[in-house]
Symmetry: C2
Subunit: 742 residues, 2 copies
């Protein structure tokens, strides 16, 4: 995603026009004092429209709908959710098995080479071989992401958060993004980067949902006659909710967490029927993964693989005195997470300034792969800790005597998941303090450098790995201090709490992520301390900065609306934040006017207020509707053409035409369009004296894209868009400093 220096939405001439007109509508002086807010940087994206267009065509269709048809549509909704759940589960299985195969291929090749070379002092050979393989894999992932689907970079959770919040991030739910995401994450995880495979599943689930529910794919150009009813923002977003939930469910084995994630991010109020569909979708996704992975791992019927993550069985219990230790660890995790975020964002800003070209993005990813490989190799080489090899086939000998294994290699050479598992469950004494410190410090910086590269990458696993390592370290230290106390013998609990604290401090767990973590660790007896720890980590972290996902969203200037209006903003009115004078259309609109308005440079409003012949507000017509009306030349003077059916509007969703590509002859420009059947009549409006918090809540609760502002005569005086709210909200410092005490 990129940012721009100027905001093309509000060009200078309109801004000037704006202030010239200020007297006419009695804008108080405060407006000018804080007028700068409109120049706020904001990403050039469209907003989703969650409000139904209840025009004549819609009502007519509704009246003609029989209860049986309604049932049929409802059954389709359930079927789609079933399909989304199963497909998402299968996708997760494909990712998991591919990584498993690639990793074991790489591992066996390297281990042989190292065994040979330890004796023959040709250590450069496995080193180069390893780094070579890793770099190739990462280069592939970076290229496919950079050149083919840039939006597939990162974990995808911020992008899905934006989408569910109501912002159309371009290409975010396209099939090619899915391909890039899936193949990319397989390559980066196998390529030994400090990333997890879980985060990208959320994005994958969302793409699958969008594809299935629309019955078409823009990337491939395939359009089926299925599910045409669902081709609008509202329905699509509901299904994307289900897909994201299925993704979370498959990734973390957390069906409830998935449902909560979607509901929390979607933020419109809780709809019970939708919730049940999302729930079913989540469950199916987890079941599908479970059954297929059980078969793959030769335990059919065992069903012990609910998610991609599998942290094994926890047998720990905790005592009252543990809680104090846990809470201190939580505070540490909050600080460590905040440090991670601050460092990562500094790097991102640096990257945005200096690493602009696409080829540099690929290069940077390769450099990280090489550095990761070299650091890992050095650490394993310098490792002084060799332990007797038990029955565990996963332990690697690497530079140790026969019958022993290299402790550092357990953390660095296998997949990060198995590292986390080992830190959680290995007995007391498996890791020395030195090994843990030597591992955690470089890995922290590596993970920090890695997240933000132009490759698909999950943040969960690296955070858990870092946290589990220092959590275990705390346990080892406690055990050194109190070697005979029974309650310091068990390191599981400290590793778990460390992992949770670090993750909580980084992403600032919301309630959904808390449930995800509890479900992922499969440990309900630890749910109380886990929740308390996440709460403390969030509180401490929030003293320094916000969560990493939110920081990335903010960095991109995506107009995501916060949960609540900024405090103390009750004195600001609609007339101070609205875009005015508004561009209105007449009910019987001249084609010339429409074309002129639509092609006005920099004025790509999503909707236009329509006024009747008395000049009163009548309704809203969307830009997309106008484009279709012109494209199909539905001119009033050519009476043979009746009103366009709704299906035409649904079919052209979501790719609408560009006004510049539509061919409108000079003669046609003089004709008229009767907007009456298409206009969304009596949508939500607000009075020009309505307060900012009131408008904000309306947008947030109902998923609005724009709101028409009327005056005492029910005439249109302006329009408020999501971007206005975002920009104004960003200037909350001005707001709090009491600018409105006029």
């Amino acid at each position: 995603m990129s940012t721009r220096d100027e905001d093309p939405l509000v060009p200078n001439e309109i801004n000037e026009f704006n202030s010239n007109e200020a007297e006419v509508i009695n804008v108080p002086t405060a407006h000018n004092k804080i007028g700068n807010w409109r120049k706020q940087n904001v990403k050039q994206v469209e907003a989703l429209d969650y409000d139904e267009v209840e025009n004549e065509l819609f009502i007519r269709e509704e009246v003609e709908t029989s209860p049986r048809q309604l049932t049929a549509i409802n059954i389709q909704r359930w079927l789609i959710c079933i399909a989304i759940g199963i497909m998402t589960g299968i996708t997760a299985v494909v990712i998991d098995i591919s990584i498993d195969q690639l990793a074991s291929l790489k591992m066996s090749a390297l281990e042989d080479s190292i065994k040979e070379c330890v004796q023959e002092t040709c250590l450069w050979r496995p080193l180069f071989m390893w780094i070579g393989i890793n770099t190739l894999l990462v280069a592939f992932a970076a290229s496919i992401t950079t050149f083919f689907a840039p939006v597939a970079a990162g974990s995808g959770i911020p992008q899905i958060k934006c989408y569910l919040n109501g912002v159309k991030v371009p290409e975010v739910v396209r099939l090619k993004t899915l391909f890039a995401k899936v193949s990319g994450i397989i390559a980066t995880v196998s390529g030994g980067l400090a990333v997890g495979k879980e985060g990208p599943m959320v994005h994958s689930g969302a793409v699958i949902a969008a594809g299935i529910s629309q019955g078409r794919s823009i990337t491939t150009g395939i359009t089926t006659p299925l599910f045409t009813h669902f081709r609008n923002d509202r329905e699509k977003r509901d299904f994307v909710c289900a897909g994201a939930a299925a993704g979370v469910s498959a990734a973390f084995g957390a069906p409830v967490g998935g449902v909560l994630f979607s509901l929390e991010e979607a933020a419109s109020f809780w709809n019970q029927a939708l919730t049940w569909r999302i729930f079913l979708c989540s469950i199916l996704s987890s079941y599908t993964l479970n059954i297929l992975l059980s078969v793959y791992h030769d335990h059919p019927g065992d069903l012990s693989y609910p998610g991609l993550i599998n942290f094994g069985q926890f047998d720990s219990t905790y005592m009252l005195q543990d809680l104090l230790v846990f809470f201190i660890m939580a505070a540490l995790g909050g600080m460590s997470g905040a440090a991670f975020n601050a460092l990562n964002i500094r790097l991102m800003k640096y990257r945005m300034t200096y690493v602009k070209s696409r080829i540099f993005h690929v290069l940077e990813a390769c450099i990280v792969a090489i550095v990761s490989g070299m650091i890992s190799f050095t650490l394993m080489y310098c490792n002084t800790e060799c332990k007797p090899l038990g029955q565990d086939p996963m332990k690697l000998q690497f530079f140790c005597s026969d019958g022993e294994y290299n402790v550092m290699a357990t953390l660095l050479f296998t997949t990060p998941e198995s590292g986390v598992k080992s830190l959680f469950h290995d007995p007391l004494g498996a890791y020395s303090c030195v090994t843990l410190v030597a591992f955690v410090l470089p890995y922290f910086f590596l993970a920090c450098w890695t997240y933000g590269l132009k490759v698909p990458s999950g943040l969960f696993i690296p955070s858990l790995l870092i946290g589990a390592a220092w959590g275990r370290l705390v346990g080892v230290l406690l055990n050194t201090i109190l070697p005979n106390s029974e309650w310091t013998q068990d390191l599981e609990k400290y590793a778990l709490i460390g992992a949770a604290s670090q993750l909580g401090g980084t992403v600032r767990m919301t309630i959904s992520l808390t449930v995800i973590l509890i479900e992922a660790t499969g440990n309900i007896s630890f749910s109380l301390p886990l929740m308390a720890v996440l709460l403390i980590a969030k509180f401490v972290g929030d003293l320094f900065n916000t969560g990493l996902y939110d920081m990335h969203i903010e960095l991109d200037h995506v107009p995501v609306l916060d949960w609540e209006p900024p405090p103390l903003s009750g004195c600001f009115k609609a007339k101070q934040i609205m875009f005015h004078p508004p561009i209105t259309l007449n009910l019987r609109a001249c084609v010339k006017d429409i074309v002129q308005n639509l092609s006005k440079p920099g004025c790509n409003h999503g909707g236009y207020p329509v006024i009747d012949d008395r000049g009163k507000f009548h309704g809203v017509i969307l830009r997309s509707q106008l484009l279709i009306l012109i494209k199909y030349k539905v001119f009033q003077e050519r009476e043979s053409i009746g009103p366009l059916p709704l299906s035409v509007f649904r079919d052209s969703y979501p790719r609408f035409y560009s006004i510049n590509l539509l061919n409108v002859s000079a003669a046609e420009r003089e004709l008229h369009i009767d907007l009456e059947p298409y206009v969304n009549p009596s949508p939500y409006v607000c009075h020009e004296d309505s307060s900012f918090p009131r408008i904000f809540r309306l947008f947030r609760a109902l998923g609005l894209r724009h709101l028409v502002v009327v005056n005492d005569d029910y005439r249109v005086v302006g329009i408020v868009t999501r971007k206005d709210l975002y920009k104004f909200g960003e200037h909350r410092d001005n707001v709090i400093s009491g600018q409105c005490s006029h």
Copy 2:
């Protein structure tokens, strides 16, 4: 709660007036066809107002608020939530320990008596003794509920659902209700009724929250100067959310489930800061209970009592082939739950018709206590199954030889919780088919009769007990058919799934209740089948009727709004459902007019539209505000009195004066009040052509109480209240049959 035959809100003269005026505002003919809906029965309750009154006083206070004061208010919010959590936990402990003590007192007294009498054939003595004690306890509970706090009857979950939905059920969060609830539930559970102690905790938590957050108690008349800022519907409801969550958390050991319960029922959109406070409150409640109960049970520091329910450790695993059995059981549970609901509601209707006097309510409860005792005694007496007594001190000998225990007594004589635990965990062979059938059938009817009595009673445990019994029966039967198969050896899973199915079929688990059940059983490995089973049970049950809580709410005609507007209602407009002509007030209102409007019989609107001197809509003033203005005689002609400060309004919350008790002299009636500083300016409005679904969503998402309807001139043409939406929604049959195809 009671219902009325006529709706005093819309007296006949207004209804007639209504239809006389129909032509004036161009109401389409469809209105008359479906005009009957206004006669819909609806409970005479007030609605909560979640919309902030942003009047001049409010804005002035906000402008004068420094960021430090804002922080102080925020800290107070957190402190209150901490207090709510701890107090709710303590209340749960009080309930638990009291029941424990009473039950063991009763038990030891009876066992001695039975031991004596088995030999001496004086069995009538313990029988009478038992029934006597039970009846006394139940009579106490029924009397305190009926005469002192009628709203304390039942589980309280329906009442809290109503409150969070936005309906002020009278006295629902009063201190006396808490006393009745707590002492009542102790008595009913100890009195051997088929009830659980968990449901009432939700209600108790809510009352505690309301009390603490308001810094006052109406029952005791104590008012502290604390927390005056929070004395309004909006803040109070937020805290009640937290209290309800804390109640769920303490009852079921389900902090996450508690948070979800509150969020789901409150239904306004997800507010993150509030969620975190609720979360903390939930956690603290569970911790408090855990620590105190650990101390009580002599395991300080062990922390293994997260909730009142404790179902012990599950070691089961399930196989793929189990799923089919589970799903069939789920369908059975759905049907059994639906049967329970249908029977219970039929009983309730019968009770509402014939058991009207208070004394009869107490009598009925006593009869149920006697019948429960007699049935239990008969079953234990007729029981043919005696098993060798192991180490378990909880097993009772009753009519069995020495060294053996009475199997039936395990289910019937101890608390229902221990019955559930025994059904879950006792080894194969502990219960025969005959015992299970002999237990489950009478208990089903007893539980059905009991829920709805005028005593505090929880529904969870009886449902779980019924389900666990028939679930175990399924397991025993399967084991008889396939005695050698390994997967039928373990009955735990069948009992658990049976319990979940029955509960799901009865209350129709929403997602929050699913999480509650998972947390309560403390078994995350069963979360997938549990969710699937609850989904199926809900689906099957929904084919027959709705959940029991919802049925009770519907029976009471409480105007609770559904999640979504009824389907196919898009063609209905505001002008068809609004109350018109509206009663409006002028900005400079004559006291005479105000008094006249306020005292109009049957017209107790919560708010009145205020119009300016041009007749345009200016804002809304609440009935409560008007009453205070008159009470304090804030008349314009007496210039010495400035505008009343906000604190006066907060202090009089929530007990406002009655218009008939206010003394307004004839001279004062001619004076005027300037409403300008008090009016809520530019609240949400809708146009008379706005569609029904649009208005419904506005109400639901923003927690509105009333919505002013304006026309093309921004003049008030009507007002829509929650009751109008409810009544109209109830007539959805008319809606679906396409009445609007005019």
